[in-house]
């Protein structure tokens, strides 16, 4: 079973887990994801690759507590184990020299965009990085991003840090400046990816997004992860998770993500009230 080397809180709702999975790390490429199981009765939860330490075979996963499984993950101590971690799954993000390339990370998406930024930078691109979150205390990876970006911007919705407003504001400024941008990649909440894709479309700049529909197997077997892209239905776990943002039906994705909202809420509350619940009080309050 994969060993958890570290598992620390990095924001009000976000944790960083380091898992030793040498084989997986050796094969993994930026943009791919893994599926984790933490206990026998648990779900299979997909998590993006938030960092790859190839020397030590360590995978970084940045996760947000939103429900039972992610809450349970917080209880695994450094030195503990998870049941399994399968991957790398999905197709890697395209890496090429486009000239100027922009990565946009929102919320938890700040993590998976980082290995992509590294790869794009290494491929010789002029790298602009825009990250954003609701508030300063939710931002993370700022130094990491800063260290490799040719231009770096941080935004907060509440203005507590950096630009007061959305990542799309900054992106618009760059596009309006007339600078030729070869490629944009945006990862974050569905609404953010939608706004970014809508913004860039009239400028004709290729814009890719990484989709996170509900998944079960992650191997193309169930079709639960289907997303509409242009006129076709794609399975995000094998055809993606990256897709052309100008073609994605984001509204459908949003709806499908809510398919089990009620059940998940009930399951979580039942878990909170169960005698064996080892969640810290601070974690219990995270999921409304």
């Amino acid at each position: 079973m994969p060993k958890v080397l570290d598992n620390v809180q990095i924001g009000p709702q976000n944790w960083k887990m380091l898992v030793r999975v040498p084989k997986l790390v050796e094969k993994a490429r930026p943009g791919q994801f893994v599926i984790i199981r933490v206990n026998e009765a648990g779900e299979r939860v997909p998590m993006s690759i938030g960092g790859l330490d190839r020397e030590n075979g360590v995978l970084t996963v940045i996760y947000q507590v939103v429900g039972k499984t992610s809450a349970l993950m917080t209880t695994i101590p450094a030195g503990g184990e998870i049941l399994d971690c399968v991957g790398p799954l999905g197709l890697p993000t395209h890496v090429k020299k486009w000239g100027t390339a922009i990565v946009v990370g929102g919320g938890i998406g700040i993590a998976p965009i980082y290995p992509i930024a590294q790869a794009w930078k290494a491929a010789g691109n002029k790298l602009y990085t825009i990250i954003g979150a609701r508030s300063q205390n939710i931002l993370f990876y700022e130094n990491e991003h800063k260290a490799i970006a040719d231009k770096f911007y941080a935004c907060t919705d509440d203005g507590s840090y950096g630009h007061h407003g959305f990542v799309s504001d900054i992106l618009k400024q760059i596009l309006d400046s007339g600078e030729k941008v070869g490629m944009i990649m945006a990862i974050g909440p569905v609404i953010m990816m939608k706004v970014v894709a809508n913004l860039t479309k009239p400028y004709g700049v290729p814009t890719w997004v990484s989709l996170n529909p509900l998944m079960v197997d992650g191997t193309g077997m169930c079709g639960g992860c289907r997303v509409a892209v242009g006129d076709t239905t794609k399975f995000a776990c094998v055809d993606g998770p990256d897709f052309d943002g100008h073609l994605v039906d984001f509204d459908l994705l949003t709806k499908r993500l809510n398919a089990y909202k009620e059940q998940e809420k009930n399951s979580f509350h039942r878990f909170l009230e169960s005698p064996g619940c080892k969640l810290a009080d601070s974690v219990k309050t995270l999921v409304k």
Binding site: V216, C222, K255, R256
Partner: protein, 479 residues
């Protein structure tokens, strides 16, 4: 009761034993197995119906030619474990095949008795002896050949892969099974429901393989973790691909991505593999429909519709575009579904799904069909009756219209030939693919077929792989 000295006429007079089953009214509220299995005396009586025909036609009806009169006569002699071993000479999964083989169109349909009476219940007996052997812990570790020094990688742990592994380990080769999911057994664990094939039986088969020394590597997706070529680089001398037909087909009609429309693979995987039927004790949720429509007429459709009843559906429909006679599902499954109150809408097909503001399916527009001229499959082609449109209220739809083959391995294996449906092309005798040392069998070669055909393909492949390794050894020695 059963007397070995019965003459032929007496034997023929014994009525076919019927299988004790859970009452339909009760069983639609649980996931326990429906047929309970024969009692010892029932089995012996049933076995005594067999005429031990010299040219046993039943044997040629079985895709792997189980020595049917041979094992049945052992049942008459009450050597049940011996009977199980007899079957295992050609079929390593009798507890499973006894339950899920379409006997009515394979071994039993050609039984001599079927002409005038009912055929010998070969499947019931096969199940009985296999269960007897397992439950009484009489499973023997077979004689193992000395270690050959060769290593074989098996990709996929369905019936094909398990059979290859079981046969090759006995021949002295080291075998590793790589499985994408976290549990081994393929469709036997993620597809076929508990009420038809208890998971502990599949687990027992996998445990048995492990006792023989087969190494399992679950949660490993070949083509992603390692490619077939990398398996060779890692020191495997041969590879068997038994990855099944795991790519669900959809109808391709408007509204198909609404919430509440599942592929049968997703629906059954949530319920079986992830045990969503036991939500919230298990964390994976599943939509419990009130009015459930399952599209299709195969085993997968029957499994889905019967699952929906057990999860609490008030109305469970099978919607099939041909008529009952063309339904590919096993007769027994159709019968079970009928008993449980499934409503059959034959000669009907949906043309569009209708959703609400939240994107949930609420209805389905259908048309009626009539049967026209025979098509490629020899079955009469269903043709739409113009103007027959009507709407069905549904809140859950399961699309069970078959699977295509998963492209992951062909995409990552240069030189591996596939046909236009994406199935791997093999030599029918040896199951060898276009790549040296790479063999394939089961649904990935045939498209969705049966457990016993997959297991049979595994047997053939194991034989050929063994031969291949021997030749390799010779050339190494001479080399």
């Amino acid at each position: 009761m059963a007397d070995q000295k019965l003459d032929k006429k007496d034997r023929m007079k014994i009525p076919r034993t019927s299988m004790p089953e859970q009452d339909p009214k009760e069983r639609i509220h649980n996931f326990s197995e429906v047929p309970r299995g024969l009692e010892i005396e029932m089995a012996v009586t049933e076995a005594s119906r067999c005429l031990s025909c010299a040219k046993a036609p039943c044997v040629s009806g079985c895709p792997v030619e189980v020595d049917i009169p041979g094992f049945i006569s052992l049942v008459v002699e009450r050597d049940f474990a011996g009977a199980a071993r007899k079957i295992k000479e050609t079929n390593s999964l009798p507890a499973i095949c006894g339950r899920v083989c379409p006997q009515e169109e394979q071994c039993e349909v050609v039984c001599i008795l079927a002409k005038k009476f009912k055929p010998v219940a070969i499947g019931y007996l096969e199940r009985f002896v296999a269960d007897f052997e397992r439950e009484n812990k009489l499973t023997q570790i077979p004689e193992m050949a000395p270690a050959s020094g060769f290593r074989v990688a098996v990709v996929g742990s369905g019936p094909a892969g398990l059979t290859v592994a079981g046969d090759l380990i006995k021949l002295g080769h080291k075998v590793t099974i790589f499985e994408a999911l976290h549990k081994t057994g393929g469709v036997l664990v993620y597809g076929i429901p508990e009420f038809r094939l208890p998971k502990k039986i599949v687990q027992a088969e996998c445990d048995y393989m492990a006792r023989l020394g087969v190494e399992f590597q679950p949660s490993t997706v070949i083509g992603k973790s390692d490619t077939i070529d990398e398996l060779f680089e890692m020191g495997y001398d041969a590879v068997f691909i038994g990855t099944g037909a795991g790519l669900p087909n959809f109808m391709g009609i408007p509204g198909e991505n609404l919430i509440g429309i599942y592929s049968s693979n997703e629906y059954l995987t949530r319920s079986n593999l992830m045990r969503a039927f036991d939500f919230p004790n298990y964390d994976t949720p599943i939509i419990v429909g009130k009015n459930v429509a399952v599209l299709g007429g195969g085993n997968t459709a029957m499994d889905s519709v019967r699952t929906s009843l057990r999860l609490g559906a008030e109305n469970a429909y099978i919607v099939y575009r041909r008529s009952e006679a063309e339904m590919p599902a096993r007769a027994e499954e159709i019968h079970h579904a009928q008993q449980e109150g499934v409503q059959f809408h034959m000669l009907t097909t949906p043309i569009r799904f209708i959703g609400d503001a939240e994107g949930k399916v609420i209805a389905m527009e259908c048309v009626k069909m009539q049967l026209g001229e025979p098509d490629d499959s020899g079955r009469r082609r269903p043709v739409v009756i113009e103007g027959s449109n009507f709407t069905m209220e549904v809140d859950l739809v399961v699309v069970a219209i078959g699977n295509s083959s998963n492209p992951l391995i062909p995409q990552t294996t240069p030189g591996l030939d596939i046909n236009r449906w994406g199935n791997i092309i093999v030599n029918a005798e040896t199951m060898q693919t276009s790549r040296e040392g790479v063999y394939a069998g089961g649904d990935i070669v045939t498209g969705g077929a049966t457990v016993i055909l997959a297991a049979g393909a595994g047997k053939k492949a194991a034989k050929a792989i063994h031969q291949y390794l021997l030749t390799k050894k010779d050339s190494l020695v001479k080399g």
